[in-house]
């Protein structure tokens, strides 16, 4: 049985820390999510455990973390559902080849560089319980993640969503999201094959059948929800209950198949009907609870697993190398690809900078990696720092590449005369 007093104190402490640090970083122009991620790390062994071990042990005794973990994992499942729900592949339409090339390059370039880095890191930070293939593929996938929700929020806040730059970026990030999760599912299958009780053909076959069933049968069945919505004139508690059941059942199925619960939740979001009467109210109902309660719990749980003390001596050099490779692959790869497709250097660097935002999606991936044992605790800590660094650098870099005056011009581009047409001078 959980110690309810302790659990309540833990949750309260986490919420206060997340709000305070989130507010503090907002003062220096950073998105709140950066502060919340930072607050999670501060509550873990890296700061609280180091500065006040007594308090840390009293608030987060090792035996109590199971309940906190369960709560944060449930939150993560619903967060991934919302990510899937918000995903709109129609965004890609009309963005043409620039978005396709940029999105694919922004995945494969960091993926490749991550795999090259694995040649160096595998003998230093892994063990022979993990195959090189699984390690390299995971590192590649972790390098190629883009934080679609954070990126979308940044574009909206800066009023860039309706610009060409914003449209190409958001479309490329949407493709990135789907591709990265598919790759990660594959990596998990490779990594878990050796130790899983489920044979590989069952794992692969079962997952494939499940995905097809979700995209066809379940999607068709969910269309009926739209009729129910029309009949009831909005989102009722019964419909919300059906959606919650679907998310839990889907997460359970993929976890049972040996992939991971987050994929089932994500898939449940993807197959939901895109009816505005359903999507918007669902997002509204889940959003506050997710942002105020569950995500800070997830960040704190991640922070409690992150021990920066594990990084010492040469490992700091490895950490720097990981950050450099992550930035080079994602920012450099996306920017060069965008430039080659004909975008200006300024727009290309802006796209690269935005795509380099990893945010909490990276933390989701890293927690999956630690859960399945494909990355070690020290590498986990380094990658968490990489996620923080790449998210932290986005806002200042973007402000430098795209100052406000240029942003205004991009939002209201001057009307160019059509060829052969003479415009009257004022």
């Amino acid at each position: 049985m959980p110690d309810i007093l302790l659990l309540l104190a833990q949750i309260a402490g986490i919420l206060v820390a997340a709000r305070l640090v989130g507010r503090a970083v907002a003062l220096i122009g950073q998105p709140r999510v950066v502060g919340e991620m930072l607050a999670g790390i501060m509550l873990g062994p890296s700061l609280l455990g180091w500065a006040a071990p007594g308090l840390s042990h009293a608030l987060f005794p090792p035996g109590s973390l199971g309940f906190l973990s369960a709560l944060s994992q449930i939150g993560l499942v619903f967060f991934m559902f919302l990510v899937g729900l918000e995903l709109d592949l129609k965004l890609l339409r009309g963005q043409g080849k620039a978005a396709v090339v940029t999105s694919h390059a922004s995945i494969i370039a960091p993926f490749f560089l991550g795999a090259v880095l694995a040649l160096f890191l595998y003998p230093r930070l892994s063990d022979d319980g993990v195959s090189f293939t699984a390690f390299a593929l995971f590192l590649g996938a972790a390098m190629s993640v883009t934080a679609f929700p954070v990126l979308a929020r940044m574009l909206t806040e800066r009023g860039m969503l309706r610009t060409r730059l914003g449209s190409v970026t958001i479309a490329a990030a949407a493709v990135d999201d789907v591709t990265a999760w598919c790759i990660l599912a594959g990596v998990i299958v490779v990594a878990r094959t050796a130790e899983s009780a489920i044979p590989l053909p069952w794992m692969l076959g079962g997952t494939l059948v499940y995905v097809v069933a979700m995209l066809t049968v379940v999607r068709w069945a969910l269309k009926r929800l739209e009729h129910a919505l029309e009949r009831r004139g909005g989102l009722s508690q019964d419909i919300v209950a059906i959606v919650v059941f679907l998310v839990l059942a889907s997460a359970w199925t993929t976890e049972r198949l040996g992939v991971h619960a987050v994929f089932g939740a994500f898939l449940a979001g993807v197959v939901m009907p895109r009816d505005e009467q359903l999507v918007r109210p669902l997002l509204d109902r889940f959003h506050d609870l997710m942002v105020i309660l569950f995500l800070p719990l997830f960040f704190a749980f991640t922070g409690l697993r992150t021990s920066i003390a594990l990084i010492s001596g040469d490992l700091w050099l490895y950490c720097g190398l990981i950050i450099a490779v992550a930035v080079l692959g994602k920012l450099g790869g996306s920017a060069l690809a965008a430039r080659t497709t004909g975008m200006s250097w300024r727009d290309s660097w802006a796209i690269g900078t935005l795509m380099n935002t990893r945010g909490l999606m990276e933390l989701v991936v890293l927690n999956v990696g630690l859960d399945i044992g494909v990355i070690s605790p020290a590498l986990f800590a380094m990658m968490v720092l990489m996620a923080l660094a790449t998210t932290f650098m986005t806002s200042p870099m973007l402000a430098r590449i795209y100052p406000t005056r240029l942003l205004r011009a991009a939002r209201h581009p001057p009307v160019e005369p059509e060829p052969g047409r003479v415009t009257a001078r004022p």
Partner: protein, 157 residues
């Protein structure tokens, strides 16, 4: 045409390179895996403190990052040891904290040292080792045998 060139340059070439890297990496060896939860199945001439630290289901837990190994001993991870694995030899050391119960009989502030040999087995891993204190003259060196549980519980979903 421009898009095709860009696609080949930024997608095709790295993809081919990735396959090469995966092939190249097959020849690289990583340190032996020793991480996980161990259950001590045999203790040889145990002192009071060693018996306290090595008894119980969750007596020995190891995490590993490459050669770097961290181990916790005893209930509620009473003592933390740090060290490395070289080949199959494990060498770890840590300081006994003052907060242990008096009946444990542990010399607070002394350095505890664990030396062991890890062996692989198809079903489990095995660890044969000794646990000794550096300064405590009255304390004996205790030999132990532990079995590694490959699937550590409580790692999240």
């Amino acid at each position: 045409m421009r898009h095709l060139v860009a696609y080949l340059l930024f997608v095709g070439i790295p993809l081919a390179g990735l396959l090469g890297v995966l092939r190249l990496g097959q020849g690289i060896r990583a340190p032996q895996a020793v991480h996980g939860r161990y259950v001590v199945t045999h203790l040889e001439s145990p002192g009071t403190c060693q018996a306290y630290l090595l008894s119980g289901d969750s007596s020995l837990m190891m995490t590993q990052s490459g050669r770097q190994v961290t181990a916790t001993l005893g209930r509620a991870a009473a003592v933390t040891l740090r060290g490395s694995v070289n080949g199959s030899t494990l060498t770890l050391a840590g300081v006994v904290p003052p907060a242990l119960p008096r009946q444990a009989g542990c010399p607070a502030g002394d350095t505890v040292r664990l030396v062991g040999q890890a062996r692989r087995a198809p079903d489990h891993g095995h660890l044969d080792g000794t646990l000794a204190f550096l300064r405590c003259a009255d304390c004996t060196t205790t030999g132990f045998h532990a079995v590694r549980l490959l699937h550590a519980p409580g790692r999240g979903i």
